[in-house]
C-alpha cells in the first residue's frame, strides 16, 4: 500500500519515522502488530506504549492544541497512520475515546465538557466505552429502552447495554438513553456521559466464540451522572449517536488495509508451500485481487477526503466488500491449512489465522451488518425506496 507523501509533508513524515525508529524497540518491537480493534491481548504492554505515544503527542493529531492535539491536517494524520501501521506498532487501546467519542464531543460538546474530557483521552489516562446496542436493539438502535430521568441534579439510569468493546477497562461510558418515554423511537433519546466506576454500573465480559472477552454487557441500576453530562441537547441523542457512528474514520482504513495485505501474503505463501494447491489457484488469485482492490478503493477514498471532496459511492460499498472478501480470504486460508486448522494450542490458544478466521465472522455483523449495509447502499446511494412501515401483518 503506497500513499503519496507531498513535499510539504515530508518533514512531518520524517519526524514520525524517526520517533518510531527510536521508540518501537525492546518489548514493543517484540510485540509487533499485537492487538486489534476488539482484541485485548497484551493490555499492559499496550498501555505502556500508549503513554509513550501520548508523551510524544502522537494521539489525536488533528485535534486542537488546547486539548492536547497538534491541529494537524488530515493528510498528516494519514501519513502517521500509514507509517505507524507499516511499522506494526501495537494496536492502540484508546480507539473508543480517540476515534469515536472524542471527535463526537469535538462536534457537539460544551467548552467545559471538551476541556474536562479530551485532554485525558489524549493523555491515555481515561478510557471510554460505547453504550449504544441493547439486547433488543441491535441493528435497530432507535428502539433502545435504557432510560434516564432527572432526579435532582443527576440523571438516574436503568437498563442494559451490550457489545461494549473493552468495557471492563472503561472509565467513562457514553450511553444512548431514552429520556422522554412518551416520544417515539428516534425522538426522546439523549446521549449521556456516565462514570463507569460506580455502584449502579455493573460491567461483565461476554465471552466470544474465540473464548476471548473483548466485549462486555453493562447493567445500569439507578446509576447516576450529573445533569449537565449530556452531549448536545436532551432529545438530540439520535442525531449525536448517528454522528458518532458516522465520524470520518478514513485513518482507520489504513491499519486494516495493511493487515489484509499481510494476511493475503501469508496465505499466498502457504499456498506456494503446498503441493496440490493448483486447483485453488483461481480462488487464490481472486483473494489477492480483492485485497489489491481494497487498497485502491481505500486510496480513492482517502484521496477524496484529503482533497476535501465528498467521498464517492465506493466509500459506502467498501465495508460490505471488505468484510465479505476478508471472510473468503480466511476461508481459503483454512482450506490450505487443512487438518492443521483443526487443532489449537493448550488452553484453547488459537493460531493467528484461526483467530482471524473466527473474528472475520463478526465483521459482517458488527458496525452495521451486511444486511444493514445493503439497505444503506440501496437507499442512500441508489435512491431506492425504504421499506414501508408495517400496517397489518400479511395473512
Amino acid at each position: 500500500m503506497d500513499i503519496e507523501i507531498r513535499p510539504e509533508d515530508q518533514p512531518f513524515a520524517d519526524e514520525v519515522q524517526r520517533w518510531l525508529d527510536e521508540h518501537l524497540v525492546g518489548e514493543f518491537a517484540e510485540h509487533r502488530g499485537v492487538g486489534g480493534p476488539d482484541d485485548p491481548a497484551a493490555w499492559e504492554l499496550r498501555l505502556r506504549w500508549e503513554k509513550k505515544l501520548s508523551a510524544g503527542r502522537w494521539l489525536g493529531l488533528t485535534w486542537p492544541p488546547e486539548y492536547g492535539g497538534r491541529g494537524a491536517t488530515l493528510s498528516q494524520a494519514i501519513i502517521f497512520e500509514y507509517l505507524y501501521a507499516r511499522a506494526q506498532a501495537p494496536y492502540r487501546l484508546g480507539v473508543q475515546g480517540q476515534d469515536l467519542f472524542g471527535p463526537t464531543l469535538l462536534m457537539f460538546g460544551t467548552p467545559g465538557q471538551k476541556a474536562r474530557f479530551l485532554p485525558k483521552i489524549l493523555a491515555a489516562e481515561e478510557f471510554w466505552g460505547q453504550g449504544f446496542s441493547e439486547p433488543d436493539a441491535g441493528s435497530d438502535l432507535a428502539s433502545v429502552r435504557t432510560r434516564a430521568r432527572l432526579d435532582g441534579d443527576d440523571w438516574m439510569i436503568d437498563g442494559q447495554k451490550i457489545w461494549m468493546t473493552f468495557g471492563t477497562s472503561a472509565d467513562w461510558l457514553y450511553v444512548l438513553c431514552r429520556t422522554d418515554p412518551r416520544a417515539a423511537r428516534h425522538r426522546g433519546l439523549s446521549l449521556l456521559i456516565v462514570p463507569a466506576r460506580q455502584p449502579g454500573v455493573e460491567i461483565r465480559p461476554v465471552t466470544n466464540m474465540l473464548g476471548d472477552g473483548g466485549f462486555c454487557e453493562v447493567f445500569f441500576t439507578a446509576a447516576r451522572t450529573r445533569a449537565d453530562l449530556v452531549v448536545g441537547a436532551p432529545g438530540d441523542g439520535w442525531k449525536v449517536a448517528m454522528a458518532a457512528l458516522g465520524v470520518e474514520r478514513g485513518t482507520l482504513l489504513i491499519p486494516q488495509q495493511l493487515g489484509f495485505e499481510r494476511e493475503a501474503e501469508h496465505v499466498l505463501e502457504l499456498a506456494r508451500g503446498r503441493a496440490g494447491a493448483t486447483g485453488l489457484s483461481h480462488r487464490l488469485v481472486d483473494a489477492w485481487i480483492a485485497v489489491r482492490l481494497m487498497r485502491v478503493t481505500t486510496l480513492r477514498t482517502i484521496g477524496e477526503l484529503v482533497a476535501g471532496r465528498e467521498p464517492g459511492a465506493q466509500a459506502a460499498t467498501s465495508k460490505l466488500y471488505a468484510s465479505v472478501q476478508h471472510q473468503r480470504l480466511l476461508e481459503l486460508a483454512t482450506e490450505l491449512l487443512a487438518d492443521d486448522m483443526t487443532v489449537t494450542g493448550g488452553g484453547y490458544a488459537l493460531k493467528a489465522l484461526q483467530r482471524a478466521f473466527l473474528l472475520s465472522r463478526a465483521e459482517t455483523i458488527y458496525g452495521g451488518s451486511s444486511q444493514i449495509q445493503r439497505n444503506i447502499i440501496g437507499e442512500r446511494v441508489l435512491g431506492l425506496p425504504r421499506e414501508p412501515r408495517p400496517g397489518s401483518t400479511g395473512g
Binding site: 486447483g279 487438518d339 401483518t393
Partner: protein, 379 residues
C-alpha cells in the same frame, strides 16, 4: 425411483433422534466437550446395547445387526444434528469398516465382535502430514521381526486416538502399504491428546517406536482396503455434515421467526428470509449429495469413489457455509460462546478438513472426469 427411505428406515431415524434429544442436548455436549475423554461411557453403552448402533451395519455373524449403509447414514445424520460427543465415527466408519473391507477372515472374527458390541473403541491412524490423505503420504514404517511386525513412525490427527482400544494403522511394508492392528495399550506407543478447535471431537497424535502390530491381510493389500475405507467414511461423514447443516438452518429460521427488530420479526425481512431460503436450498443439495453416496455404497457400485468425493466436497462446503450463515442470522449473539451457533460452525470447519478438504476432493474428481491429472491418485 429408488431414492426413497423405507418405513423401517424412517422409524430408525425417529428412534435415534429421540434418543439423542435426551442424551446429547446442548448442556451435555458442553459438559462432554470439556472433559478429556470427550464422551459419556454410559451413553455409549446404551447406544451399543439398547440401540445396537455400533454394530448396525456389521453382519450378524460378527455380532452385528446386518443393516446397510443407508441405515448407517441415517444414524450419522442424526448424530450430526445433535453434535454427539462419542467415538462413533472412528469406531464405526473407520476401524469397523477397515476390518469389513479387509481380506483377513481371522482378524474379522477376532476383532469385529468387540467393535460391534461397543466394547472396543476403534480408530484409524493414517494421516502424517496435513492434507495428505493419499497413499504416498504413508511413511510410517512396518518391519517384520522375529517376534512379528513392529511399527515406527508418527501419525497425526487421529480421531479419538487418546481413548481407542484398537488402532488400525496404514504403514509402509517392504511390499507396499499394509494394514495393521495395534492395541491401544501396546508398548512403544505414545499417545498425546491434542486440543481441538472443535472441542466436541477429540484427536491425538500417536508415535510408534518398535510398536508390535498385527498385520491384517496381505502386506501389500493395505491401500486397496484403506482407499475404500476413506471413501466410505467420507460418505458417512458427509451424512453427519448434512445433519448438522439442517440443524443450523432450523436454528437460524427459528430465531428469525421470533427475533424482533424494527417492529417486525427479522424473518419477515427478505434479507433474512432469502438468506434462510438459500441455506435450505444448499442443505437440500448437500442432502442429495450424501444420499447419492449412501445409495452408491449400498449398491457397492463402481461409482463409489466418484460419489464419495462428490459428497465430501459438497457437504463440507455446505455445512461450513450454512453454519457461518446461521451465525449471521443470529447477529451479535451468534458470535458469543454461550450460544450454540459456534459449536456447529467449528464442527463444520473440522469436518471440512477431515478425510480431505473440498479442494482435495475436487482435484480427485477433476482427474476422474478427465479434466486433468490428479495429485496422489492411483488407478
Amino acid at each position: 425411483m429408488d431414492f426413497l427411505f423405507t418405513d423401517e428406515q424412517l422409524e430408525l431415524r425417529a428412534t435415534v433422534r429421540d434418543f439423542l434429544a435426551g442424551k446429547s442436548a446442548e448442556e451435555t455436549v458442553r459438559r462432554l466437550m470439556a472433559t478429556e475423554a470427550g464422551y459419556d461411557p454410559r451413553v455409549w453403552r446404551q447406544m451399543s446395547d439398547q440401540l445396537g448402533l455400533t454394530g448396525l451395519a456389521v453382519p450378524e455373524e460378527y455380532g452385528g445387526a446386518g443393516f446397510g449403509y443407508v441405515e448407517l447414514g441415517i444414524v450419522f445424520e442424526e448424530m450430526g444434528r445433535a453434535l454427539l460427543c462419542a467415538p462413533y465415527l472412528s469406531t464405526v466408519a473407520l476401524a469397523t469398516e477397515a476390518l469389513l473391507r479387509c481380506a483377513d477372515e481371522a482378524a474379522r472374527r477376532d476383532l469385529l465382535p468387540g467393535l460391534a458390541a461397543g466394547r472396543t473403541i476403534g480408530t484409524l491412524a493414517l494421516l502424517e502430514k496435513p492434507g495428505r490423505w493419499d497413499e504416498a503420504g504413508v511413511q510410517t514404517r512396518a518391519s517384520r521381526t522375529a517376534a512379528g511386525w513392529v511399527l515406527d513412525g508418527a501419525k497425526r490427527h487421529v480421531q479419538d486416538g487418546h481413548i481407542a482400544d484398537l488402532i488400525m494403522v496404514g504403514a509402509r511394508t517392504p511390499a507396499g502399504v499394509g494394514l495393521f492392528a495395534v492395541d491401544g495399550a501396546a508398548p512403544g506407543l505414545t499417545r498425546t491428546s491434542v486440543p481441538t478447535l472443535d472441542q466436541t471431537r477429540k484427536q491425538a497424535n500417536l508415535e510408534f517406536a518398535g510398536t508390535p502390530a498385527r498385520l491384517i491381510g496381505d502386506d501389500a493389500d493395505g491401500w486397496r482396503v484403506l482407499r475404500r475405507v476413506l471413501d466410505t467414511a467420507a460418505v458417512l461423514l458427509a451424512a453427519e455434515q448434512v445433519g448438522g447443516a439442517f440443524r443450523a438452518v432450523e436454528m437460524a429460521a427459528g430465531y428469525a421467526r421470533v427475533r424482533v427488530q424494527f417492529g417486525r420479526p427479522i424473518g419477515s425481512f427478505q434479507a433474512i428470509k432469502h438468506l434462510c431460503a438459500d441455506m435450505l436450498t444448499e442443505a437440500e443439495a448437500a442432502r442429495s449429495a450424501a444420499y447419492y453416496g449412501l445409495w452408491e455404497l449400498a449398491a457397492d457400485s463402481d461409482d463409489v469413489p466418484l460419489a464419495a468425493s462428490l459428497a465430501k466436497a459438497c457437504c463440507s462446503q455446505a455445512y461450513s457455509r450454512i453454519a457461518g450463515d446461521a451465525i449471521q442470522v443470529h447477529g451479535g449473539i451468534g458470535f458469543t460462546w454461550e450460544h450454540p451457533a459456534h459449536l456447529y460452525f467449528k464442527r463444520a470447519k473440522a469436518c471440512e478438513a477431515m478425510l480431505g478438504t473440498p479442494g482435495y476432493h475436487r482435484d480427485l474428481l477433476a482427474a476422474r472426469l478427465g479434466l486433468r491429472s490428479a495429485r496422489g491418485m492411483e488407478a
